[in-house]
Amino acid sequence: MTILSFDWAFIIEKLIMIAIIVFASLGIALYTTFGERKVAAILQDRPGPSRAGPFGLLQPLADGLKLITKEEIIPSHADKWLFILGPGLAMTASLLTCAVIPWGTAIHVFGRTVELQIADINIGILYVFAVVSMGVYGIMIGGWASNNKFSLLSALRAASQAISYELAMGLALIGLLMTTGSLSLKTIVEAQVAGNWWNVVYQPLGFLIFFICAMAECNRTPFDLPEAENELNFGYHQEYSSMKLGFYLFAEYINMIMSSAIMASMYFGGYDLPFFDESTVAPNIAAMIGVGTLLIKIVLFIFLFMWIRWTIPRFRYDQLMSLGWKTMIPLALFNMLLTGAIILAKL
């Protein structure tokens, strides 16, 4: 099936993959909002949403319906096009990340080998960093276009926070890249599947820094200064209503899922199920077990995010900056040097 020297089946296969992954991400994000509310409730001795459907399971659908049917308000002094562009950009950037995440090994259908990854590009992690830093534009543009001092302040905060923590994040990652020798997420995961230990064993400090910075990048408490409802009245999405607000909130949850997936892939073996020999079962089933393992790891990470959110209060702005610049970056540099020294000593 080769027309115009294209492998059309390949394009169809990738389109189906993209559709599945995008809709699955949206669905998981929808239920992460529910999970957030339930976890918050249970940690605070409350029952949480329990009215819509059994155990309140239809609550996210009701929330989504509410957001879609609400009145769309664009403030008269707002820059209309940038105001619309903001949430779209935030959403696009957070969804783009999922392109390089390896969801499992290959499965075999209709005589074809389908890689469970949209694109195995050799600069996988660099791509993630590039896309994630684009997500900040969504927040900045939204905050600026709202023409509101609180939104603008919050956008400024978000931008400086993202810049400060992306630095430490990248530096923490260099240690990992030195040990794996590859930027491709697939290669990093395969190395962990083949090796004895997950990367977190070799890079505990690097993982800690990466985790803290990921939390800051996702604007999660204790780093939710851009939202800071008690000082900035909800920050950059204060003027937003209806599904534009929904997009911002959704983008935050998708960011959370994607950073969980990346942390699971890079430090916790990705789709590797420990103490289980994949060769004992059929390859397709083994691949599905791998996907399930990765999803469980993602859910555990998301729970950790929520658990931290409902435990720790928000940082003050100067504390945030001093943590980022005076603690995280030196620590990441130290981690990098330490890794380099150990690699040299081993040679």
């Binding site: 249970i42 940690l43 001795d45 931290i308 435990t311």
Partner: protein
């Protein structure tokens, strides 16, 4: 000033040690506390399905009582209206005729009996004042209504179902209220 309780503690101004400045240990301690709350009993009462038990002296909406034969007990003496500190009760008395013997217990009865539930303070003084055991405060509490008029309860709203002719309705009302 002398300390009023023995709970006062001096604030420590010692500079934090390295471990304390890391915050990680204290963060983990806090997270253990929040995690332990997952296994705590929730005090929530899921309202429409579960109801909190009222205390036996709870004072809810009023009911007008009937005797065992279904006759209204109220004799329109007006003592409840006099006792009412909020002046929520109004009534008009009427004389019982020969063919109303099965309806009213005494020869005088309340032709109109209204309680303004927005004025009522649910003090229960009407219940105490009544010499005929005709008015009681039940365990139902004020429902919502669209108009102020709807809160002026007349005899049809207040009278309990007739034990002779509407025994099933009475049992149901008692079941709900109990």
């Amino acid at each position: 000033m002398q300390p009023l309780t023995n709970k006062a503690q001096a604030v420590s101004r010692k500079p934090m040690t390295f471990l304390e400045r890391l915050y990680l240990i204290n963060i983990i301690k806090g997270m253990v506390i929040t995690f332990s709350h997952m296994f705590k009993k929730q005090p929530t009462i899921h309202y429409p399905e579960q109801k909190r038990e009222f205390s036996p002296v709870f004072r809810g909406l009023h009911v007008l009582n009937r005797d065992e034969e279904g006759k209204e007990r109220c004799t329109a003496c007006g003592l409840c209206a006099v006792a009412c500190p909020a002046e929520a009760i109004t009534m008009e008395a009427a004389e019982r005729t020969e063919d109303e013997l099965h309806l009213y217990r005494e020869e005088k009865y309340a032709a109109k009996y209204e309680i303004n539930m927005l004025r009522c303070i649910f003090c229960g003084l009407c219940e105490e004042a009544c010499p005929k055991d005709a008015i009681y405060l039940s365990e139902t509490f004020a429902p919502a209504n669209y108009t102020r008029k709807g809160f002026i309860y007349g005899k049809p709203d207040l009278l309990i179902p007739n034990p002779k002719t509407e025994a099933a309705a009475l049992a149901m009302a008692k079941g709900v209220e109990a």
